[in-house]
Assembly symmetry: C2
Homo-oligomer: 461 residues x 2
């Protein structure tokens, strides 16, 4: 027997020990009749998507420096950045609130948590998405002016993007923790790690993140939840310059980086951000240039639609939990790290990282299948980011909203899972789907834009 679509029939046959072949099929997304047709008929689409995808995969991100957020992003005192689409304190989830409280304490805008919460609730601080400042941040993604940022430049198209420094594992601000150990670490990062890395990069010159990412993909990383190879290659590359730039702090800095296999993640996120930003604002392009979550909403931005966000409710990841934690402890999906999937890495590159299944669940064939299915909704195969196990095929890069709508296939995201209570930290890791509604509303807007473009071009109408 051949079964198609939802697994219930297949499961019923399994239960009856009837042999069957599962064929992967799903209905297209429920969009307004005609919208998909209008988008597909937009004469600008093919060329615009070619330009958008071409710019994204030809970007050459280099780690150019490390700078204070206040100065690098022009971030005044009293403005904090956060992950995902715009959100206010009232709708913010536990880990987002916790991280904002921690940033208040770090910046000396409050002396204890309750005072910080009151100030935040009263609007004393302006909250803006990282993405509105050419930046990205993992999990809560909170950036305050005194933090140091990795500065990544696109040597091909000239863009610049930023990401904060990774704090390590355990109780950390990005998962909403704000206890004394979190603040002590952040102060050390501000006083030692940031300046040492700034001096290191100034001495070593730019670090080629395109080459490093390409190597890491051949070493079992998918660059979202597995960054062990990339972190190791980065340490190796920078270690001599760290010693030269700061002999008195070198051992501590190397020990700190070595203690955290995700240290590279933030550099990789900025590299993906600067690559995706190179593809923004191509009229008629239906390519996704950002996917981001604030712990409440999952938002998408599309090249042809400027800086508009298309959002839906953030989902709950399905995966493996740490220790005694379970799904009830999980916060909805959070963080800007979906910029990796936006650029064709992370969940899209799982075939390069079979060992990831020990962390996010599933088995190795699932990881291979995840990558294979993403070719159905993407516009390009990355020329430099190759997957050896697929015969060196390029990663599927450049999500096309129209292909998502037509196939009903949503992007595969793999992610860390934050505890829903502020301060708990990471409770697991797994896979999550974006809400279909983010893509259907983006498609509706694309249909409208296609119509307007058609009218504008036809002087007789």
């Amino acid at each position: 027997m051949i079964t198609v679509g939802a697994g219930l029939l297949g499961e019923a046959l399994d239960a009856q020990a009837v042999a069957h072949v599962a064929v992967d099929w799903r209905p297209p997304l429920p969009v307004e009749p005609g919208a998909l047709a209008r988008v597909l008929a937009d004469p600008r689409r093919a060329a615009a998507n070619g330009v958008a995808a071409g710019r994204m995969v030809s970007a050459r991100p280099v780690l150019a420096g490390v700078r204070r957020a206040g100065e690098a992003l022009g971030l005044p005192r009293g403005v904090f950045l956060h992950a995902g689409p715009p959100i206010e304190w009232e709708r913010a989830s536990g880990p987002m609130r916790g991280a904002l409280v921690g940033a208040m304490l770090l910046e000396g805008l409050a002396t204890e948590p309750h005072e910080a919460e009151r100030a935040l609730a009263s609007g004393a601080v302006t909250l803006e998405p990282c993405h509105h400042h050419a930046a990205v941040g993992p999990m809560a993604g909170v950036v305050s002016p005194s933090m140091w940022m990795l500065e990544v430049r696109d040597a091909e198209h000239g863009g610049t993007a930023y990401c904060s420094l990774n704090e390590g594992l355990g109780k950390v601000l990005r998962y909403g923790a704000y206890g004394p150990e979190v603040l002590t670490r952040l102060r050390w990062m501000g006083e030692v790690l940031g300046p040492v890395l700034a001096a290191t990069l100034a001495a070593s010159g730019p670090l080629d993140l395109r080459a490093l990412t390409a190597q890491a993909l051949q070493m079992g990383d998918e660059l979202h939840n597995r960054n062990r190879a990339a972190t190791s290659l980065m340490v190796r590359e920078l270690a001599p310059a760290i010693v030269t730039a700061a002999p008195e702090h070198a051992a501590d800095v190397l020990r700190f980086i070595n203690g955290n296999d995700h240290f590279y993640l933030n550099a990789g996120m900025a590299a993906c951000k600067v690559s995706a930003d190179a593809a923004r604002n191509i009229p008629g392009s239906t390519m996704v240039v950002a996917m981001a979550r604030n712990g409440t909403d999952f938002g998408v931005q599309v090249s042809g639609l400027g800086d508009r966000w298309f959002t839906g409710p953030a989902g709950l990841p399905d995966g493996l939990y740490l220790g005694a934690y379970g799904p009830r402890d999980a916060n909805p999906d959070i963080g800007d790290s979906t910029i990796t999937e936006t650029a064709g890495l992370g969940g899209f590159a799982m075939a390069a990282a079979p060992a990831i299944v020990r962390f996010v669940g599933g088995d190795v064939p699932d990881a291979m299948a995840a990558t294979r299915s993403m070719y159905e909704i993407t516009l390009a195969e990355h020329p430099a980011y190759q997957i050896p196990a697929l015969g060196f095929r390029g990663t599927p890069a450049g999500i096309d909203v129209a292909l998502v709508a037509r196939t009903g296939l949503l992007p595969v995201v793999n992610t860390g899972i934050a505890g829903r209570v502020a301060g708990v930290g990471q409770v697991g890791a797994g896979l999550v789907s974006p809400p279909a509604s983010a893509f259907t509303s983006a498609l509706a807007a694309l249909a409208e834009a296609a119509g307007e473009a058609g009218q504008a071009k036809d002087p007789n109408m």
Copy 2:
């Protein structure tokens, strides 16, 4: 049509565009009638092989220190070690001769190459295999008393094994080069690198090579021709201690190690050596405990047969050549690095390292097939060394001479290719098979030993 065995018929069908299925079959090795049956009937065999394989895969190699060869191996002035089974100057190949000349110059036993050659030809220096001194060396594998050795201990069974420090790429002693830049580098290694690493290990404590190897296999290394992940992990682990132990040399040492993706190879070889040595001298065991080549002969040692070597002519690797080099520039197979295949890594673990095919030739399915076929001639699946792409199956470990003879399937070795002219250096990398005769003569000796054991046990005979 179904074709079996040698490819000629298949190729003929290809030429005629006849569809056919190639079934992997080959005749058993040509051994004396009855020999294989006697070995298979040896009542000691199953249990002895269980002990031998069990000891090898349960070994827990740790990098315990770095010491001078003279002191660590009790190597007196005038004794040099070399790779492979025993050999004399007269039969030594170009790269082996070149490396011996270099060692003469390094040790001050000659002041120019011709003088060194004359002294070596006259027997002024005693040549002994590394394997006779609990050591291994890549390519020519020449060890002279002033060189520094990695000291690897087996925390499970208590053994110790040694390997020299990797010199890097380009013109290096192990490929037979002995020019001024080779000797300058070796002197720096003697004066700086060795002492710094010795101080580092003394400060950091032992480095767990079993854990590091297991991680590297999940990061695309097969630990013979691809050591990028293992080298990166090792640098990352040791960097803080290098800085603390030798702040004035740390940047140079880190730069040196970072310049060479094979730096880990030598530590890995010593780890494989100490693991295989734990399986030596189990009466009745048909398991291989060493495979090694001196550039002229390929030799095998077997657990149940003590320190005897079974040799055959070293083959010419089939692979990819660097620059303008080709097969005519290649030296026959050379080096102790086949200790990696002996322990279930290298060619046996190629399924973990799909990117290796860009270096040794073939395509990814070939690499997968190589590993899969080695399960047919091995006794165990390594419990810690797992291959994610095979669903975390353990690497095939512990070559059984009887299974090799019965299946006709020779171990898959992947290897660097040395230029046949001393001093040329590496000319390529590829795959090579050991000579079948090494295994047939080992099998004959096992048959004889089985007979003797049977007689010794039966007082009526």
